[in-house]
């Protein structure tokens, strides 16, 4: 007598209720559940899925398909610039809309080089605005990157408290630049054009199966087109279940203030002195190959 001899309904409680039938005459133990389901407490890997023959059961196939569908929708979702601008306007923060040298999703995905440059018209606009605005301390950029939902949900909740903190410290900020289809490195060209001291880019990270709305934040001190990823600092996985926006704002404020105080950025700026009040588990390394996301040697979450 094994657990498999049990009545199929007993073997498949709540989870398979959609297949509920008064009596299943099938005498074969198929599909089967795995008697090591308790091990699931130890990892969120998809273990003990059970099987139909040697294949996955309907429930686990559909669960996986749903997770992937959500990630795909996130990758292809439209950047809601109007809605994001309205969120900032509510808090009294001005925005300006610009364009990268790419304007459609397939080209964005295939040509990372274009997402690292401004469109010619936007470059001209920014040159003119630079004269009006004058040199300031910090330019903040917001883009969809690989997840428009990340920008829509977490950019303003992170940026508003961050801007308040920095202004209280006497920092001057440019209007927030909203730029669809951007890559991290675009912050260097924009920052250099404006003569900003710091450039801070927020953009959606590549969606995973478990989270499709993680926001990443990257900044450079003295942004310049010659900057590399070694010159960047990063706070990643900004979302409620990861680094919550308020915590990300505190951490970024601390890193930016330290960067300004010490006159350094990138790998030279360590976060090991970070005050205990800040969440220690968040990532804020300067990462190797932020845009060269695909090297398996570095399992970095790309932007």
């Amino acid at each position: 007598m094994t657990h498999l001899d049990a009545h199929p309904k007993a073997a498949f409680p709540a989870e398979d209720s959609r297949n509920d039938r008064p009596a299943n005459p099938n005498p074969f133990p198929c599909p089967t559940r795995d008697p090591w389901e308790a091990l699931r407490r130890r990892t969120f890997a998809r273990i003990a899925l059970g099987r139909a023959g040697g294949s996955q059961r309907t429930a686990s196939v559909l669960e996986f398909r749903l997770a992937h569908a959500r990630a795909r929708d996130a990758v292809h979702a439209r950047f809601e610039a109007e809605a994001i601008a309205a969120q900032f306007a509510e808090s009294g923060l001005a925005t300006e809309r610009l364009a990268a040298a790419v304007s459609d999703r397939p080209t964005f995905l295939m040509r990372p080089d274009l997402g690292r440059r401004l469109a010619e018209a936007s470059r001209e606009t920014l040159r003119r605005r630079a004269l009006e605005w004058g040199a300031r301390d910090l330019v903040i950029l917001v883009s969809d990157g690989h997840s428009a939902n990340a920008a829509l949900r977490h950019a303003a909740p992170t940026i508003v408290p961050l801007a308040n903190t920095l202004r209280a410290e006497g920092w001057t900020l440019y209007p927030i630049l909203l730029i669809p289809f951007a890559r991290v490195k675009l912050q260097d060209e924009v920052g250099a054009l404006l003569h900003a001291r710091h450039a801070l880019m927020f953009l959606g990270e590549r969606p995973g199966l478990s989270a499709s709305d993680s926001l990443g934040a990257y900044f450079t001190w003295r942004p310049d087109p010659a900057c590399t990823d070694a010159d960047r600092n990063c706070v990643s996985n900004i979302r409620a279940e990861g680094t919550p926006p308020a915590a990300a704002a505190r951490k970024l404020a601390w890193l930016l203030l330290e960067s300004a105080r010490l006159g350094i950025g990138g790998v030279a700026l360590k976060d090991d002195q970070i005050p205990a009040a800040l969440p220690a588990q968040t990532e804020s390394a300067s990462l190797p190959g932020i845009d060269e996301e695909n090297r398996r040697d570095f399992a970095v979450d790309p932007s």
Partner: protein, 458 residues
Amino acid sequence: MIFPCSLSVGARRYVFSSLKELMAKASPLRSGDVLAGVAAESAEERVAAQQCLADAPLAHFLEEPLIPYETDAVTRLILDTHDRAAFAPVADLTVGAFRDWLLCYETDAAALAALAPGLTPEMAAAVAKLMSNQDLILVASKCRVVTAFRNTIGLPGRLSVRLQPNHPADDAKGIAASILDGLLYGCGDAVIGINPATDSVPSMETLLRLIDELIRRYEIPTQSCVLAHVTTALEVIERGAPVDLVFQSVAGTEAANASFGVTLPLLAEARDAARSLRRGTVGENVMYFETGQGSALSANAHHGVDMQTCEARAYAVARQFEPLLVNTVVGFIGPEYLYDGKQILRAGIEDHCAAKLLGLPMGCDICYTNHAEADQNDMDNLLTLLGVAGCTYIMGVPGADDIALGYQSTSFHDSHYLRQVLGLKPAPEFEAWLEKMQIVAGGNRLLPTLPSHALLAP
């Protein structure tokens, strides 16, 4: 053969200035070659290039290196180790005639094994560019490459699986849970191989001891690997850790390997160090390499050579060190290199065929990321094609979802699909263990597992 070479198609005349340009333009379309600016500019130019390439003598590849001998250690390795006697049977053929030769009934496993040392990666890459998908599958299926450590990999009618129990925090209990899951699903004969979240000596040692303890406790005829950098592996060997296989990502140019922090002498040192431990019981293939189209390009170290050719050159690096396992991580690289399921699929069977021609025990991490135009059905397609092609091993990831590396690969269940549909079995030593442990019967049918199963004992 003299460059520039040209071909007239109707009113158009296509001119190719070098073998390097011809190879790149003859390559089936993929986004990475477009990104690099080396792809054909039209579908017609691509076929014109293939027609010119079909007329190129194989011997010409020995005279015109795509990356100069003087500047690249991989080119030197390729030319210095080329076996002219082995090359003799095809020495007078053009690339097009070589394709026909490969497809002949008379060209069997023995002929292909004898030829392998006489082939350069560029020759294998060139003929693959002319081959249709079915050619790549047929020719690969005729190749036989067998390697061994604690079991025998690559025998006819066998399909092995790397058990990949990754965890984003290297949590020992989480990793152990995924290993048990994989073993109870009959997977793990290629290797139990962990991509560590942290590449450090202490974490590599901890993970190695975890797998070693499992392998010894249950007398599992398989090998372990923690896929840290080769220098980390050398350090833990020095400290007496139980290292079975040494892993390294390798690429097809000296500069790309430098970006991975490796040189050929360093790889030789690692192989010798691992062999000196004498931990293999039925063989001494101690290296595990991963490759993937686009790695040289992403390191800006491709010298204008197309992705597939750079990839094939990585196999020259791999074969120098007599690996137990090699696999391309085909769809990990992202859509700017391989855009969709079609491009990933083509790259997967190209890589498998070229590597087998060069004599490597080639497997494949059949995979994709969420920003690629691909899904699990595309992986099913590639999985099936590679199974028919005689792929040495695939990955086994719980539910196909790698929670540490954030991409999707193949599941333990996927290997059962393939074993069922093609009648494939695990490595013989591992098959015997699975039957002894009452996990599998008849080579590929999973038995019901009792809660009292030995592997589930606390």
